[in-house]
């Protein structure tokens, strides 16, 4: 067990533990990519990595800087068009896990990656959806990775880019969304999980050295806390060794 680790390393390790062997994962760049390759090296050697760029069963030999890195192609199982990725794989229900992040996340796991401020006159123009909106609709389950702070977890989103458990008062079922949506938010202090009945994100587990009060102070809505909070184990020596020395030695994403 490592005693000296960064919040990013903890988040990557926690995300990796969510993945089972042979699962089919829609991978994003950054921490999700690290988490997936960490899982491949530990408990899920046959994890199938699919990137929206069309690489299926990718085995990147170097840390991909972009989602269309050439190392995702070399040695992969299949390369297909993006029409195939979104229709035959994602819309057709073949993706088991999707990772998403965002500038703003609300109490239902809705995500904003479009604008801060008004759409027509934004204070900050963010990149937009990319494939996030459809991943949120179709992946069998979605894991959100985001650092906690009050601006990132506001009571109200400036824009709803990717749907969570409840959008403008309607449930996923009422809206006809096939996937289960975001079931966990992996933060730098603990884990939020969607309440199976209401869909609301609830604090269910803490990382070492954090308190529920600290988490609540970083969330813009009255965060509910589960009665019996879980304690998440810190990264193991093996997880840290892989992350630091094999997966991201240049600290591109583990800053």
């Amino acid at each position: 067990m490592a005693s000296d680790y960064s919040p990013s390393e903890m988040m990557a390790a926690v995300a990796a533990r969510e993945l089972g062997d042979r699962e089919v994962v829609f991978v994003g760049i950054g921490l999700p990519n690290l988490a997936c390759n960490l899982a491949r090296a530990i408990q899920a050697p046959d994890l199938v990595l699919i990137y929206e760029s069309g690489a299926v069963g990718a085995v990147p030999e170097r840390l991909p800087v972009s989602i269309g890195d050439p190392s995702l192609v070399t040695g992969s199982l299949m390369v297909c068009s993006m029409a195939d990725v979104f229709q035959l794989f994602l819309q057709n229900g073949k993706i088991e896990v999707g990772f998403l992040g965002g500038a703003q996340i609300d109490r239902w796991g809705n995500i904003n990656t479009t604008v801060i401020g008004k759409y027509d006159k934004p204070k900050v123009r963010l990149p937009g959806s990319g494939g996030a909106a459809e991943i949120a609709v179709h992946a069998q389950r979605v894991l959100i990775i985001s650092r906690l702070n009050p601006r990132a977890f506001p009571a109200e989103l400036d824009f709803l880019t990717s749907p969570g458990q409840r959008c403008k008062g309607k449930t996923r079922k009422e809206l006809g969304m096939p996937g289960a949506g975001p079931i966990k938010v992996i933060t730098d202090r603990g884990i939020l999980e969607s309440d199976p009945e209401t869909g609301e994100m609830i604090l269910t587990a803490l990382y070492p050295g954090n308190t529920a009060e600290e988490v609540k102070a970083n969330v813009g809505w009255p965060l509910r806390v589960r009665d019996h909070l879980g304690q998440v184990a810190p990264p193991t020596a093996q997880e840290i060794d892989l992350l630091r020395h094999k997966l991201d030695p240049q600290k591109l994403f583990l800053g």
Binding site: V65, G68, P70, V79, A83, Q91, T114, E134, L160, R172
Partner: protein, 301 residues
């Protein structure tokens, strides 16, 4: 049949006109910067630029004053930061830029509809989100078989699509390997198609491996042979992505004056791609792909 091979200058002069709807596709892979630079040099204006990811190339074209409108689904600098010319246009209106925004699946679906000569494409998407609120062209249709409500996006039929490929013959039969993006759909949806290749090959090379042909020559209007035409994007098996330049763009594009100085030196300051490459001979050493060949297959019967 007559060869379609022309210079980049000639291809852009003949096929890209002021006010056109232009697609330069390629998802991270095979983005043809050489064509974008020639459009800037020829000072085309009022273009509607469409791409899933505007990437650095449309950021440069926006800064150069070529764009009236941008149609897109993800406007960032992959792995490095923002597209600051795009952000200045949207946040500050300098220069003014109309935007029309989808998700990746939405853009792919628009090109699929265009390529299949259908007016729209249905999909399960956008429920609960604000995307249809700000883009009234995202609508719904009721399925006549199941009664399900589906999202729809309208066909995209560009005036001209520019596609990069590793190789083609002189008639434009173009072969691509590595990431395929949405190039096939974009090309079939387009009124005119320019194919830009690393290597011109004999028709017999194409015919020896027909499964690798992405774009058939019958839909191609011009073939341009332009080695390293995609830098700082990449061509699988030819050269790697210049991630250092993508990172450097964050700093160049953040400052409008610095960006103009970049365009003056690297776009207006060179006559063509060969001159661009001659200015930075170290690129070939740094980025040339190492060989990893696949075994051929038996096409016999």
């Amino acid at each position: 049949m007559d060869s379609k091979v022309v210079s980049m200058k000639g291809a852009i002069a003949a096929h890209v006109r002021d006010g056109d709807t232009v697609v330069i596709e390629g998802f991270t892979h095979l983005i043809n910067f050489a064509a974008g630079h020639e459009i800037i040099r020829q000072r085309r204006k009022d273009l509607t630029l469409c791409r899933l990811t505007p990437d650095l190339i449309y950021d440069q074209m926006i800064a150069a004053g070529c764009a009236k409108k941008l149609v897109f689904s993800w406007a960032g600098n992959p792995g490095a930061g923002s597209l600051h010319a795009f952000r200045r246009a949207v946040e500050k209106g300098t220069p003014p830029l109309e935007i029309e925004e989808y998700s990746h699946f939405g853009m792919v679906a628009r090109m699929s509809a265009g390529a299949a000569s259908l007016p729209f494409w249905p999909m399960r998407n956008y429920m609960g989100t604000d995307l249809p609120v700000v883009n009234p062209r995202i609508r719904t249709v009721t399925c006549p078989y199941t009664g399900e409500e589906l999202a729809t996006v309208p066909a995209l039929n560009p005036d001209v699509t520019i596609i990069a490929a590793q190789r083609a013959d002189r008639l434009g039969n173009a072969q691509v390997w590595g990431l395929l993006g949405v190039q096939k759909e974009a090309a079939f949806a387009s009124k005119r198609v320019i194919v830009v290749v690393e290597e011109l090959v004999d028709e017999s090379v194409i015919r020896s491996d027909p499964n690798r042909t992405l774009i058939p020559g019958m839909i191609v209007d011009a073939v341009v042979v332009e080695p390293w035409g995609c830098h700082p994007s990449y061509a699988q098996g030819f050269y790697d992505r210049d991630n250092d330049f993508y990172v450097a763009w964050e700093d160049i594009s953040r400052d409008a004056a610095k960006l103009q100085a970049y365009l003056d030196e690297w776009v207006h300051g060179v006559t063509d791609r060969a001159a661009y490459m001659a200015k930075q001979p170290e690129l070939k050493q740094r980025l040339t792909a190492k060989a990893q060949m696949c075994e051929g297959v038996n096409y016999g019967f």
